[in-house]
Amino acid sequence: MTALLQVRNLKKHYPIRQGLLNKQVGSVKSVDGLNFDIYEGETFGIVGESGCGKSTTGRSVLRLIEPTEGEVWFQGRNLMELSSKELRLLRPDMSMIFQDPYASLNPRWTVQRILEEPLQTHQSLRTSERKQHVQELMERVGLSSFQANRFPHEFSGGQRQRVGIARALALNPKFIVCDEPVSALDVSIQSQVLNLMQDLQEQSKLTYMFISHDLSVVKFLCTRVGVMYLGKMVELAPKRKLYANPLHPYTKALMSAVPVPNPKAKKERIVLTGEVPSAKNPPQGCAFHLRCPIATEHCRSVQPEWREADEEHWVACHNL
């Protein structure tokens, strides 16, 4: 398998400024040294709780926000070294689906105009061609082309997310970052959208980076999954391995905490005490040691190494 995207030592630190002179007194380490590859045609999942840096990772990879440090190789080029002009030429190949279909569509624009915008920016088509293209896009995501002149508020949540997906597809991208695309939707609508995303991937050989807090959704859609905690990746493995045999104590706790829709399912729940510490001053040593049920003295002082515990199964923990 070839890697479409390679991320090396990606960091995003936000400065904390204080005082009269706006001096930097510290930094919030949102994303702190990530390494992973995304293979062509796969769906790479990133899970974690709020504040773990998963959305920041998604945006940094596309350079929608400027990372502090690191490299992102996409089709053999390091995105971090490209000028904005060069980057713009690459933009059609990568796009994004956002979480909130209410906030990510301009309420004053018709769907026609929303879907047309990327075409106008990157391609020189005639008006009639553009119109045709928009109609095709709408049909591909399961909307009727006669709805093109409607405004976002005239659509339901699920339909709005379809518009968001159509916009992401407008320029035939190779790679799409999906940031919690279904978490604002009801269950019955969520499954429609997930099935649609799966179909589109098969049709157009898309590669997804799928960011979510929902372990069940990630399991359904993804081929490989990375688990993040406090700006770092703690475990990364192919889906089957991760769900059948989670190694990191955080992954185990996370999985055991998900309520299962089966009242007869008996399970041992690992209830984590405490909360995620602030990324402003992350703990010394392993970021998870404050809540970890198996932490030792060693974990408090030394950061665990990111190593391959089993074939394709990466984990950062001392106690395995």
């Binding site: 019955s188 609508i189 997930l194 069940s216 399991k219 359904f220 706790a253 905490a257 984590l272």
Partner: protein, 326 residues
Amino acid sequence: MEPVLAVEQLETEFVTNGGVFKAVDGVSFHVHQGETLGVVGESGCGKSVTSLSIMGLLPKKIGRVKSGRIQFHGSDLLDVPEKQMRSIRGNRIAMIFQEPMTSLNPVFRIGDQLAEAIQLHMKLKRKEAMRHAVEMLRKVGIPHPESVAQEYPHQLSGGMRQRVMIAMAMSCNPEVLIADEPTTALDVTIQAQILDLMRQLQEEEKTSILLITHDLGVVAEMCHRVVVMYAGQVVEEADVDTLFESPQHPYTQGLLSSLPQLAGEQDRLESIPGTVPSPLNMPPGCRFAPRCKYRVEACEQVQPGLTDMGGGHRCRCLLVEKGVAR
């Protein structure tokens, strides 16, 4: 055994520019002492409006209960004068809301907000009320309750705020606790903590809980019985095991099979086609008919009633009513 709270044929309507519409249409259910009843449904199904109707907290002018009864210890809450309602609300029936940030007052200290309710309902002096407030914070597992009582809501994390909300709701030992999506805004590991806490408090105080949620996983873990709502109506009611093992209503079946599962493999998700009907334009027959794969012609004309299937299992479906196999 007499139920603690019984809602009978509740109809709540809203007056909007687009016209009058019924958000809740003939909803009935009851909760026994020490029982957790789940009310499940997707957005707009009327589950939150039902809880606001019980609490008498509907937005004035636009929302009103048109008919029905809400029996609480032999009296109808809809007939109770506002003054008396004030002594019930927050005292004997308490509520936890979804978003703890918007339901706590940002300019008052945690301790003061808690003590206010306690002072009012338990007729305690300020100092005693404060002591009781700190005790409640300790009970819901907040570390250093004395210092947290001196803090403002924005200084706490989401999970801690929800604990404060629970402490506030439980401070007067309510008989009924209405929890409206209490863990939806929280992360799973924090959700697990909060659900554990609710279960533990229920065991200690024998509180009846009305748990309103869209999360079927939470229902399976928490509830004894479940009411499924769709477009303002109850479509199915059963004990939790029956509901998950042999759901009868096509909507319940669809909901359960459209869930991505943590266990097992799925190549494809089942899904319910279409969307929830607009409350201003309800289908004349069964409200689920336009999305139902089993629909027959009669479904589009006749409103099905709730069929009693024995053992407290009821279902609103014409085919079940007629005993037609699907």
